[in-house]
Symmetry: C2
Subunit: 375 residues, 2 copies
């Protein structure tokens, strides 16, 4: 089934008075459309400027949306029969996924109806569909997934890319990740002059693979034009540190680092809970410490740093965690909104163009937006 909006470009009818339109795939997550609609409702409550195009089973979505007061008038539901599952292979989805809610959600960005698409579906399929429908930005050979990493930085997290879009990266790709990551840090996290590091097994210049040394040279040359501070090589221990804002690596290493970090934080959390269950005294202490522990949990809660952003395409796509609940989905929508508001897509495209001809131009992407997205 092809969703109606896939057929012909629709006008930006929904974007009244500067509202930002976000396109949402309501079907692909582990918790189904009710969690997604609950996340939409949470975001809608907090932010009156967002409108939504919601893709999936029309009857079910209308029923879920009707339950939330005031939500129906801010949502445009688009029927899609198909659902991309977590087990679907990306290649199959590209060939046969046209009737799916994921396809339809990406299509709304392609058609210009929405500024950013959000999906909790299968990452590989979402990237493959986004590549095929939105196409890569001119000059980009490998798009990347940028993720947020809880850290000691003032902003509370660092950006790491590529978190797993492509298991390979040439030196030129790593340069583009640096440019794109810096642009994301400026527009998504409000960091004027991001500090960028290249992930390696040591900080000395002679360390690491030859492609990293080459990338090191390229990024050093591009830093001034790219308006970022290049710190050189950083190590795994710097990912959660406050020394660096953007960490650049290939998607294989990035994915392993991401899952290692998640696994470690989870282990410590479990051991902590066990420790507090251990005796009457410690149970009592846990009750007393509740507020502090909740504050800690909030700080490292993966739901609050939910949202991998696909960079390097003609359109912005935010990948929410598959198991995200309403809080997680609302965090992903908030990120999508922030990026849409900042005119991120246009700025990113300008940065990439700059990276292609490295020091050719030096525009003011850190200053006021030139092309605000939406009318």
């Amino acid at each position: 089934m092809v969703s109606s909006n896939a057929q012909s470009p629709a006008p930006r009818a929904l974007e009244n008075g500067g509202d930002v339109v976000i396109s949402i795939d309501a079907m692909g997550g582990d918790r189904g459309p009710s969690a997604v609609v609950a996340g939409i409702a949470e975001s809608a409550d907090k932010n009156p400027e967002i409108r939504f195009i919601v893709h999936g089973n029309e009857a079910e979505l209308n029923r879920l949306i009707a339950k939330k007061r005031g939500l129906a008038e801010r949502c445009d539901v688009r029927h899609a029969d198909g659902v991309v599952t977590m087990d679907d292979k990306p290649s199959q989805v590209v060939r046969k996924g046209e009737g799916s809610s994921m396809w339809s959600a990406v299509e709304s960005v392609r058609q210009g109806e929405a500024t950013v698409a959000v999906s909790c579906g299968n990452t590989g399929a979402l990237m493959a569909l986004s590549m095929i429908r939105l196409r890569k930005l001119p000059g980009v050979s490998r798009p990347a997934i940028a993720c947020l990493w809880p850290s000691k930085s003032a902003q509370g997290f660092n950006i790491m890319l590529d978190a797993g879009a492509d298991i390979r990266a040439e030196p030129g790709d790593l340069l583009q990740y640096a440019m794109m990551g810096a642009s994301y840090a400026r527009n998504g996290l409000d960091i004027d002059r991001p500090r960028v590091g290249l992930l390696n097994v040591g900080t000395e210049e002679h360390k690491g693979r030859s492609e990293l040394k080459e990338a090191h040279e390229l990024i050093t040359q591009a830093a001034e034009a790219g308006d970022f501070d290049y710190l050189g090589f950083v190590e795994g221990g710097d990912l959660p540190s406050d020394r660096v804002d953007v960490i650049v690596t290939d998607g294989f290493t990035g994915n392993i680092a991401l899952k290692t970090g998640e696994g470690t934080a989870k282990l410590v959390g479990e051991l902590l809970r066990e420790a507090f269950r251990n005796s009457f005294m410690s149970k009592f202490a846990a009750v007393l410490a509740m507020t502090s522990l909740k504050r800690l949990q909030k700080r490292i809660d993966p739901r609050r740093v939910n949202g991998g952003v696909f960079l390097g395409l003609n359109g912005t796509v935010v990948k929410s965690h598959g198991s995200a609940d309403a809080t997680g989905i609302s965090a992903a929508i908030k990120l999508a909104f922030q990026l849409a508001k900042s005119g991120f897509q246009e700025r990113l495209a300008a940065r990439v163009a700059q990276g292609v001809g490295v020091t050719e131009q030096h525009d003011e992407d850190g200053a006021e937006p030139k092309n605000e997205v939406g009318p």
Copy 2:
């Protein structure tokens, strides 16, 4: 300066009545020889079967050792003038390091005076020296560093290799890491039939780089002869899990994962301390929960899992963390002792030989030792 024992093979004079002799580089750590001697004293107290050959500044070491009751008669001090610093490049150390305490410590293993060498010095230099002096085991092209990873397993940690000996690994190297890691798990952690996994960005067989698919085939074929269960691909999140005992990866990825895990655990620990400092109530709770928190800290204390083991050489070398204190050094010595006692070096060599001709033989490395190390 060449230490005396480097000149001619010495008899195993120290190994009386089944004692195990450990060779210790007392100089290279961040905390200097006093921390190392304190660690030796701790180990000596706990374990009457160990004797030590201690390498470094003779006068200083004799003075430090004399302060610990009963330690002098269990230590043989070997004077070495040179100290390898953390900034020395491995290539320089190989050329000019002959008078150093590190060189001398490795030499004691080469000469057969000691079964295992322990050093807190510069990792790269220690590996380079060990390679040049001990030489690689026949059939090994890349030695590996195996580290212990705190985990939910019954034994409390998993083994990961290579943690950073070599940034590259061919499929054949990964196969040998699997064989060597399984042998280490049996002899170092008493796991009869280790579960081995190959680190990748997903568990499906089609995922990852082509060399990983090739290694996957090789390890699948070798598992039966190697007496281990091969689980196929595992992910970063499995490193601290109880699904797997030995995780195999190349040294680049392994080093990044290791430092990422350490950094994440450190961040969570710091945030936890902050949380408990936050209010009077939480400070009070922290006092009540002290026992539980200490138990947790002990569980994930990096000092207690201190000791990277160099695998694939004609002799066993344990690398202690550079910043290790007495507790950390004592943990590394304990590991060295366990490996020496189990006849690990001979068993490992047999396993590697088996890996070379893959399914040729099927010896009983899990059963009683055939060649107990030492008389």
